[in-house]
Structures are given as C-alpha cells and as structure tokens.
Point group: C2
Chain length 406, copies 2
C-alpha cells in the first residue's frame, strides 16, 4: 500500500466529462490499494476569465484581492472533482489552501510555500476518502489568501507529496512525458523514461515547459519521485528522480531551445575595473535577469572592450532606454540589439565525466554552417546562441548527433 499524490492540470479538468475521468483514475488508484491525494488546477480557461474580470475593474488590480478572485478557479474544480468521485461511487473531500493548511509568505500572486500541515489530509485518508486539494493557493500568516503564480499547482502537488511523505507524485498533463527534444521540430525525439532532477531543472528552464521549475526544485530538495504522464492513457511517462549510476551513463539526456532571448551588444566600453560590475549591477536593480555574458577586448584599442549579453526578449522593451542610459554614463560608444537569436542547449549528467562534449557540439553546428554567437556552460549543460533561422536545423543536428535518430 502506497501513498500517491496525483496532480491534474487545467486541460485534464477542462470539462465535466474530463473531471469524471480524473475521478475514475483516482478511484482506480485507490482500489489498487493506495491512499490517494488529488491536486487540481482550475478548469482550462477559468484563470484567464477571472483575470480578465479583475482587469476590467482595474488595470492593475489590488494584488491581495486579485488572489482572492484567482483562488476561486481551483476552489470550484476541487469541489467538482470531489462531487465526481461521489458520483463514481467513492468518497472524497475537497480541501482548500486555508483548510489544509498550506502556509505561504505574503507575496501575493507569487507566494512561496513555507509549511504544509498534513493533519486534515491524513484525517481524510484515514476515513477511506480521497483528499482533493485545490492547487495554486495558500494562506499567509494573516489568514489572507495567496496564490503561487502560474503553474503553481505543480508546486502544490510536489510540496504536499513532500509534506505527507508520499511514495510518488504523479503529474498528469496533456503530453505523455518529457521528450529528448521538441517532437514538433525533431521527428526522432523520444520519450525519456527516467531523468534526474538536475537535468530536468536545466531542461525546464531552457524551454521544455512540462513541469513548473519550482516544483522540480522542491522535489529535488525532498527527494520526491515525480512521474510526469498523460491523463489520456495508462502509459508510463517520465520519472524524475535522484541521480543514480544508470542515469549518469547517459551523456546527453535532452536538447532544448529557448526563443525568448535577445542579444544586447554594448560597444566600446572603457576597459576599467568595476565598469562591467556597474553595468550588470544596475540591470539587476531593475529586476531584469541577464542570461549569457561575453566580454571581448575591442578591436579599436586596448583600453576598450565590447560587452555582449542576452536577456529575455519580453524584457527588452522596458530595458532598452535604461540600458542606453547606463551605457552612455559608462562611456560606451553605442548599444546594438539583436532579437533574431535562439539559444540551443544540450543537457546531461554524463557530461561531468565525459570530455569533449562541448567540442563535439561546436563541430556539429559548424558542419551545418551555423555560426555560434555566444557560449555558456555549466557542469551538465552547454548552450550556444545562434541565429534564430537555424533553430530547427540546430536542434535536429544536435539531437541526432548526441541522442540518435531512431
């Protein structure tokens, strides 16, 4: 007998009929001898409807009240799921964030979980009932309702699984697992049966948006085995777990790409100590995350350097004026932008013990005539910035070169 947490996203609870399917699956898991905790998102479209309603009231709605509105989406789907379990002949109780209770900090719309009490969940399970927990929501020290931000139900699921010591946390989604790369642009992409938390973190942050990154961090911290799978079949999906020997033998687990990158080129910055620190310190103060950074000595003279970095394309508009102002203050001769870039990355635990992986990546790209504009590396990842027009070609080349094309 195991203790299983099952999380169903917005698509999986997107209609009355789909919620019935969720109920049947949870009951089947219970009948197989398990205690079952179900975590649900809002029905697909509902969160957007609620946001639109609030934004009709105020362009920037009061953050505290926005969370009170947003939390109703999961409240409704949790209660409907409990109803569905009753209809299917089982017993269930919905539990909201403040009932569980899931205590968070007070950062409305992006709260972080501090503690989770398991008592109400265990009381429910002890009576042979399925506990249906509303995802995405919590309550702060003042008793105010908070939400965890988009995709927060994954975080709820993994955090609940950690708090109650669940044997597994199943994340049901509309894809059947994590793939070695995007199957839409690379037909030879394969489902990964097992992947480590570390690899999943790198793949998630690089664009394989299957699992909320924070939920993977929590799973890794508490060692919760996560099973990403589809709610439309019984097929096994992808297990995200701790490292072991078998996983380390895989050199490259996946190939990711990130289109939301823009390159900024600050030309002819005086090459004095502290100048680069000032530039990036000022950017960080504006809450803009910088990704890759390259500093070159300028061709025009020994005392000047060019600084290149990338940031999220979606941040570029609000960053432009500010970057130009800083560049001017630092004595740079100009700033150039390039939005036609994409970052391709290879990720794998095995890189730590295999030499020459980066070199092979550069060679594979060069063979296709793809110029590399920037490089960044970590222990288990190598990323290259290239022209956006090569995205598909680069992904296919790297995938087939490292993982194979069958």
């Amino acid at each position: 007998m195991a203790l299983v947490v099952q999380k169903f996203g917005g698509t999986s609870v997107g209609s009355i009929e789909r919620i019935r399917n969720v109920a049947r699956r949870a009951l089947a898991t219970q009948k197989a001898g398990n205690d079952v905790v179900v975590i649900v998102s809002a029905m697909s479209g509902e969160t957007n409807r609620l946001l639109a309603l609030a934004q009709e009231m105020a362009k920037i709605p009061d953050a505290r009240e926005m969370d009170v509105v947003a939390a109703t989406g999961e409240q409704v789907s949790a209660a409907l799921t409990a109803m569905a379990i009753h209809v299917e002949g089982g017993e269930a109780r919905s539990l909201l964030g403040h009932q569980v209770k899931i205590l968070t900090d007070g950062a409305f719309s992006k709260a972080r979980i501090k503690t989770i009490q398991g008592t109400k969940i265990f009381d429910t399970l002890k009576k042979g009932r399925i506990a249906v927990v509303a995802g995405f929501q919590g309550v702060d020290e003042n008793g105010d309702i908070t939400t965890l931000g988009r995709g927060g139900s994954d975080t709820t699921a993994v955090a609940v699984a950690a708090a109650i010591g669940a044997n597994a946390c199943e994340i049901y989604t509309d894809v059947d697992g994590v793939y070695t790369t995007d199957p839409n642009i690379c037909p030879s992409a394969k489902k990964i049966p097992r992947i480590s938390y570390e690899e999943m973190l790198e793949l998630a942050s690089l664009g394989a948006k299957v699992l909320q990154i924070r939920s993977v961090e929590i799973a890794m911290k508490y060692g919760v085995p996560v099973h990403v799978r589809t709610s439309f079949s019984d097929a096994e999906g992808t297990w995200v777990t701790g490292e072991d020997k078998a996983l380390e033998d895989v050199v490259v687990a996946g190939v990711a790409y990130e289109k939301n990158e823009a390159r900024v080129h600050v030309v002819n910055v005086p090459d004095k100590p502290g100048i680069v620190a000032e530039l990036f310190g000022d950017i960080a103060d504006k809450n803009i995350s910088v990704d890759m950074i390259i500093q070159n000595v300028s061709r025009e003279g020994q005392d000047r350097a060019n600084v290149t970095f990338t940031l999220a394309k979606t941040d570029l508009a609000r960053a432009k004026n500010f970057i130009e102002e800083v560049a001017k203050r630092l004595g740079a001769s100009g700033v150039r932008y390039d939005e036609d870039v994409v970052k391709v990355s290879i990720v794998g635990l095995g890189m730590r013990s295999h030499a020459g992986i980066a070199a092979k990546m550069f060679r594979l790209l060069a063979n296709e005539g793809i110029n590399i504009q920037a490089i960044s590396t970590s222990e288990i990842k190598v990323s290259c910035l290239i022209h956006a027009k090569y995205t598909e070609l680069a992904v296919r080349t790297l995938h087939d070169g490292f993982i194979g094309n069958k």
Copy 2:
C-alpha cells in the same frame, strides 16, 4: 460618527460598472464620517451558473461540495468590490466567511449562523479601511465552508450588524422600499416610510419578497434598525424597526397576497379523536408545511368530517400520492385539489387594539362578490383564501378600503 452596514444584492453588483457604483456609495458614506462594512451577494446570474455546473456533474451534488462551489460567487464579488474601492481612491479589504469568521452549524446549503467574530472587521475599520464581507457564506466547527441558502446575504448583513453593534443596516435592492401592496396590480400602493419587525415578518412570509424572512427575525431579536432602499438613487426607503406608538396607530400597514397556495379537500374522514392529528403528523413527517386548516362536519352524516387545508403549490406534486395514501388509510372517501386559489392578507400592528377589522375585510370582499373559501387570523394579520381570478380585484379593494386610494 456611526457604524453602518450596507448590503448590496446580486443586481447591485451585477456588472463591473455597478460594482463601481457600490464602491462610490460606500466611500461617500465613509467620507460623511462613518465606519462602513459592505456585504455583497454574488453577481446576478453567477449563483445559477455555479449551480448548473454542479448539476451537470451530479443530479444531486454532494451538499458539502456544493457549498464550496456556491461560495465562490460571493468571494469574487467581495474581492471585485474591494478592488473597485481602491480604484475610486479608497482603502478596502475583502473578508470571506472563514476569515471574519462567521461560524454556522453544519447544515450545508441552509446553515444557520451561530456566532460572528468582529475582530477582523474592527481591525480593518480601525485602519480607515472599508470591510467588504462576502455574504451568504460561513464556516462550521470543522472549518468546512457552509452557505445560508437563497437570500442569505440579507441574513449575513443583519447578523454582522448585530454582532458589531452597527447603528443601521442598509439593504440596497432594486426596489426603493417596502410598499403597502404590490404596485404592479394596485396603482395606489405607497412606499411605507416605517414598519415594525412584526409587520415586516408577516408581509415577507406572505409574499412581499423584499427582505429575507430570517434576516428580519435576527434584526428583531437584536433590535437592528434595517433600512431597505434602492442602490439607484439617494432616496430614503423603508425603515424596519421596533414598535412604537406611531406605528401602532396604523391599523393596516400592508396588503399581501400569496399565489403559491393549493387547497386540498379530504372528504368524509371518520370523525374520531386523533384522526386529524394523524393526517397532519404524517404530512409534517414528509417535511411538507401546511398553511391554513379548516375542519367541517360533513353534510352526509354526524360521524364524518371534511378536512380542508392549504399547502405550497410547489409541494403539491410530491405530496399528492402520499396524501391520497394517508386519506385512504384513515378511511376518507376521497381527496380533491384546487390550485386556482390565492391567499390575500391584511397586516397591521393596530389590529390588536381595533375591533371589527376582520368583519370589515369580509364585507369589502363580499361587496365585490368575492367568495371566501377559508380564513385564518393572527394578532396582527387576517388572511382569506379566494379564487385566483379575483386576486387583483381583492388586493385593490382591500388596499383602498383600509389604506386609501391616493
């Protein structure tokens, strides 16, 4: 400086623009030097939408979960109202049933309020904020969400006003007060400036559906002055208050009618002790409320009686089979039904000290050729059952005969 509770119904918060009006009114009341607590219903149509969603899931949805779904209607409108107050330059906090907290019994969908804690409300007011309380909802001893049943926001408003010792409870609705009778069928109907709790109870239960009857009971119990008024103008409406000399001088305060009546005629019941008690005991066991009761000696013999009673037309279908079964068991010779009936009533504190009011009522009806099928009286009310076709004529006749036609 007064402490004022303002309750806004579904129509008053039926759109973003209307919620803005609610915010403006609450802020104006605050600026006039008052502490303001706002109680809101769900946006009109929302509760029905939620009920329909639940009923799509289950014909009879689990009662506990139904309340979890239903409570989201008021949760959203309370948060939107707080947002609107911010937009209008004020400060506000929404408070849900479990936050206030409004402790109820565990009777889902028709819970009764046990206690209300005022601390969170007072904390909010002390900071110069308007407290926006979600109507209709509470929480039971287990922390489960409960709802008070249809019209429950009136009850929340009056109960909160009693709990915090408010100087007045304003009920905003789409009519501008309580009228002496239905203006739709009697053009001389007048707005009543003041009426006693007792009269309001009789008028409410008789069909003048302006105020939830339970809210009037609570207002009477705690002596909360209630002001029923429209949210579409600043006009004074109707004050519902305790008795005083001026109110007692009014003989008939209002004329009400109730169309939801059906007459049941049980023919030739053996006239033995306990038979009638058995009949009505069995009916009560089925949770069917009987209104008027008349027992006549049958013309066919001294040992047999006819029993006539009325019940809600909406209960008749489910009661019919059962009544016939009981009648047969008791030895009655048959049961007849009449749905073409209406109950007209006159209500007034002054009746207690004025003789001949009932006689005048019968005479007024007789003058118009209206036959009286049944009569019931209380200290401050006389009701007559008549054929439904005379409804409008009877109401106008009684109104103009007792209250005047100007």
